[in-house]
C-alpha cells in the first residue's frame, strides 16, 4: 500500500517526493448502519445509511525528514484551515478537489515472474473532501542516543472514499 497523493487547501503532497516518507496508513472502513423493525417478538434488520468510521481522523505516520519540510507543509495547511493569530481561516466545506489517493499494491509472483518486477496497483482508493485535522507531537529523546528515526503522525478528515477499481 502507498499514499500516492494528498491535496488539501494550501498543501499538495505527491508520492514521488513528500509521500515517500509515509510509513503507515490503513485501508478505510465503511459501515451500513443497522436499523431494526420488531414484529411479534422477532427483530428484523434493515439497511440504514452508510457511514465511514474514523473519517474524522484518518491517521498517517510519516518518517521525519531532517529538514522538516514535510512538517512545514502540514503546518501551513493547518494554519490555512484556521489561524488563531489572525482569527481567519478557510471554513468552507472541503470540496471534491481536496482528495487523498491510496494505492494498494501487489507483487507479481506467479510462474515466469522475473526478479526486479515492480509492484502492480491492484486497487486505487480515493478519499473525497480531505482536510487536515492534526499534526502530531514529536518527542526527542536526546539522552538515549539510539539513532532511532523519528516519525510524525498526522490525521486527516474526509467525507467518504471511492473504491471503483
Amino acid at each position: 500500500m502507498r499514499i500516492k497523493q494528498i491535496t488539501v487547501p494550501g498543501m499538495s503532497l505527491n508520492g514521488e517526493t513528500d509521500l515517500v516518507f509515509a510509513r503507515t496508513a490503513k485501508l478505510p472502513g465503511r459501515d451500513i448502519e443497522d436499523k431494526t423493525v420488531n414484529y411479534s417478538g422477532q427483530v428484523f434488520h434493515v439497511n440504514g445509511r452508510a457511514v465511514y468510521p474514523g473519517s474524522e481522523s484518518y491517521s498517517i505516520e510519516f518518517y521525519m525528514d531532517q529538514e522538516l519540510d514535510l512538517r512545514t507543509k502540514l503546518e501551513k495547511a493547518s494554519r490555512l484551515a484556521f489561524n488563531n493569530e489572525t482569527t481567519t481561516g478557510n471554513m468552507c466545506m472541503p470540496g471534491p478537489e481536496s482528495v487523498m489517493v491510496v494505492d494498494v499494491l501487489a507483487l507479481p509472483c506467479g510462474i515466469g515472474n522475473q526478479a526486479g518486477t515492480g509492484f502492480q496497483v491492484v486497487k486505487e482508493i480515493k478519499f473525497v473532501g480531505v482536510s487536515i485535522r492534526s499534526i502530531g507531537e514529536v518527542e526527542y529523546a536526546i539522552a538515549d542516543g539510539t539513532g532511532e528515526i523519528k516519525t510524525l503522525n498526522a490525521t486527516f478528515s474526509y467525507h467518504w472514499y471511492e473504491d471503483f477499481s
Binding site: Y39, Q42, F44
Partner: protein, 199 residues
C-alpha cells in the same frame, strides 16, 4: 390463528407496499414571497431591515440546501362533551366537534443552517418584520408563501409530500454567540398556514 412471522417477513422483503425508506430522504421548498414584496412593506414603514435574497437562491433539485430539519404538524381537532345537565346516571355523554385545530397551535417548523449569506438574516427576519407591519391582509403584494415538503424512496422516487398553502413565519428562533467551541448555528423558523394538502 396466531400471527405469522413468515407473512411479515415475506411482505416487508418482497411487497413494495411494505418497503421501508430512509427518513433522511426529504426536501423542502418555499415559494411565492419575493425580496421586492418584503422590501416594499419595509420601506413604506421606514424600517432599516432589507430582504436581500429568497429561498429559491438556496434551492437545488427541489430542496433548500440550508434546511436541516422540518417538522410536519399534527392533524388534530378540538372535541367537547355534550351533557344534558345532571342526572345522566350511568350513561355516557355525547361528543361534539368544536373545530379542527388551527395552525398557530400546531408545530410547523424548518431549521436552517446559518451560512455566510444567511437565509434567516437576509430573508426570514425581514419577512417576519414585514408581516408585523402589514399583517395578514390579502390586498396588494403577498407576504404568504407556498411551502412544500417532499419525501423520497431509497430509489430516489417521490413517495409522499405536503403542501402548505398561504404559509407565513410566526417566529424566528434566537441564537447565542459566545467564545466556546460550539457547533455551527442552526435556527428554527416556525410557520403557520391557512391549510395544507396531500401530495
Amino acid at each position: 390463528m396466531s400471527v405469522s412471522i413468515d407473512e411479515f417477513f415475506s411482505a416487508f422483503s418482497q411487497d413494495n407496499r411494505f418497503f421501508l425508506h430512509l427518513p433522511v430522504l426529504w426536501g423542502v421548498t418555499i415559494d411565492g414571497v419575493t425580496e421586492d414584496a418584503i422590501n416594499s412593506v419595509l420601506q413604506d414603514a421606514g424600517e432599516k431591515w432589507n430582504a436581500k435574497t429568497n429561498p429559491s437562491n438556496y434551492t437545488k433539485s427541489g430542496n433548500i440546501l440550508v434546511a436541516q430539519e422540518v417538522s410536519i404538524p399534527n392533524e388534530t381537532s378540538e372535541f367537547t362533551t355534550l351533557e344534558s345537565g345532571s342526572g345522566m346516571g350511568g350513561f355516557f355523554p355525547g361528543y361534539g366537534l368544536n373545530a379542527r385545530s388551527n395552525f398557530l397551535n400546531r408545530s410547523t417548523a424548518v431549521n436552517f443552517l446559518q451560512t455566510e449569506d444567511d437565509i434567516i438574516h437576509n430573508f426570514f427576519r425581514p419577512w417576519m418584520i414585514a408581516i408585523g407591519i402589514k399583517g395578514l391582509v390579502e390586498y396588494g403584494t403577498t407576504l404568504k408563501s407556498t411551502m412544500t415538503v417532499r419525501q423520497y424512496k431509497n430509489s430516489g422516487e417521490f413517495v409522499r409530500g405536503f403542501r402548505f398553502r398561504k404559509a407565513f413565519p410566526t417566529a424566528v428562533e434566537p441564537f447565542t454567540l459566545n467564545y466556546d467551541n460550539t457547533d455551527f448555528k442552526i435556527q428554527s423558523v416556525t410557520f403557520a398556514c391557512t391549510n395544507y394538502e396531500q401530495l
